[in-house]
Symmetry: C2
Subunit: 182 residues, 2 copies
Amino acid sequence: MARSASAMRGQILESALRLFAVHGFRGTSLQDIASDAGCSKASLLYHFAGKEKILTELLTPAQDAVAALLDRVAGLEGGRLVEETVVGYVDVALLFRRQIRLLFEDIAEMSCHQDLSVMELADGLLDALAGRSQRAPARVAAWMVLGAVFITSATDDEVVPDDVLRAEMIRSALRTLDHPPS
Amino acid sequence: MARSASAMRGQILESALRLFAVHGFRGTSLQDIASDAGCSKASLLYHFAGKEKILTELLTPAQDAVAALLDRVAGLEGGRLVEETVVGYVDVALLFRRQIRLLFEDIAEMSCHQDLSVMELADGLLDALAGRSQRAPARVAAWMVLGAVFITSATDDEVVPDDVLRAEMIRSALRTLDHPPS
DNA sequence: GTCAGTTCTGACCGATCGGACAGTTATGGT
DNA sequence: ACCATAACTGTCCGATCGGTCAGAACTGAC
């Protein structure tokens, strides 16, 4: 066969991205990628120095986009800074959503593989956070709160004390949901 | 030794939770847990039917807590529903933050193991989203936006069209940051 | 002391996976 | 036609890991 180098490389990257997004990085073997791309596993390792290098090449454009965004807002301040950053970040995230998804698939597969009914619980939480509304604005805001609290809890910013963190998370979440302070 | 069954089980669970939270579920082998708990790998598998069962036992209390929360807010509606759900969810998330962290460590280790400087970029994004403020409310809100957009992008709620999703994500994020609409 | 039952362990197994390597096939320049 | 180089492959290897199993060590009841 011996097609041109760039063609095979592109095919490998595309197969890898798709399989990673479905089964996660660790859940996808080099053989899986090779079979999907239509070449041998050895051919994979001819084009890429290792499995991680494939992931790196897949993630680098997203990293560059964020770096470019940070560069673009470097000189701004105040309201313009926040607005531009938010819009830019959302656009980058949506542009590279498949890459983001591949990061989560390992988690999802791990959570679902057992008898835990996390999905049902997440749905219930989503409904309640959206105030039982099915409208898009409420549902999107609920999704964001779900993710925001989840990730923020996992971080350990030892600068912020726990009680302050709790209070600010609640306030922020209620703002996200457009809920007037009581 | 042959200590009482519950003592060894508890020791194993504690070691597993700590190691999972540091190296992730997949990044921790049964041998690692056994060494940390001070027993043999075979003894692990005497107390737990498999590696996943350990994870299940670690995650079940958190699942039960969420289920209890959903049960508690089942009869509420309107403002009370949202408030109770948010406060309850934040409390559960903070209570089980180590369990949540273990879910993310696999991602973190995967992202950091390569030459990508994701941490610096995340910090830069955090600063910009917080409007260069170092105050706790701004930083917590920035963290939440960071996680919210990240997770929401990874979900595919095919009910909401992409352009609507983008607009609502931006609006929600700006609300989270307490940014007045322009 | 005896014995049944629980707890624990060393040794082993099968499977999987990432990667190495020598050799083969195709390509393009001359 | 020739050949250097790039592209590709089959095969093998070492390491890791989850899990099994027969049997040892310990315990408490009698």
